[in-house]
Symmetry: C2
Subunit: 104 residues, 2 copies
């Protein structure tokens, strides 16, 4: 299940923090690591999880790998929440559409 991988990736607070930093600005691994008190491999492993879920994309440039958030990959989360829209008005539709429009 695709949603499982995304929810699982976001379930870790460090990983959400990584995503948040990458949403603010594209960054290479060393720059990213600066904000956290964990080892470089730990960061790489978190990035691998986010990458597998499609939540971040990488761009290799020489020795550096630049990562950025891919907010379009959050669509399944909104989709899932949206399935319970019968509980509330269907204004949620708009968000779903916006995310769909972002697809590359």
């Amino acid at each position: 299940m695709m949603e499982t991988e995304i929810f699982r990736a976001l379930a870790d607070p460090t990983r959400r923090a990584v995503y948040e930093r990458l949403a603010a600005a594209e960054m290479n691994v060393s720059e990213l690591r600066a904000g956290f008190a964990i080892s470089q491999p730990a960061i790489s492993q978190h990035l691998a999880a986010l990458r597998a879920a499609g939540l971040v994309t990488e761009r290799r440039q020489g020795r550096f790998t630049y990562y950025r958030a891919n907010p379009a990959a959050l669509a399944p989360v909104v989709d899932w929440v949206e399935r319970y829209r019968n509980f509330w008005p269907k204004r949620v539709e708009s968000l779903k559409q916006v995310l769909k429009d972002m697809e590359p």
Copy 2:
């Protein structure tokens, strides 16, 4: 972190399925169990996780405990996604407001 507990609760596919069934209809544990191929304690443990995250509420009636989904508890998920609204138009605001209006 509150979001962590919610994301973690939703990260398990069985738990999401439980939530989905409880979103469709209030149900006691035995009725709920009928739809799954796992033991009664396993269901109770999933319900405990969902309950701890505030995603479901219980109503005891005699020997039975009836559970129902509490969609308002999904608000932090929408909130979190919404934090990246700078990537997309701010129509997301409306969803946040709707969820806030649902609070008991």
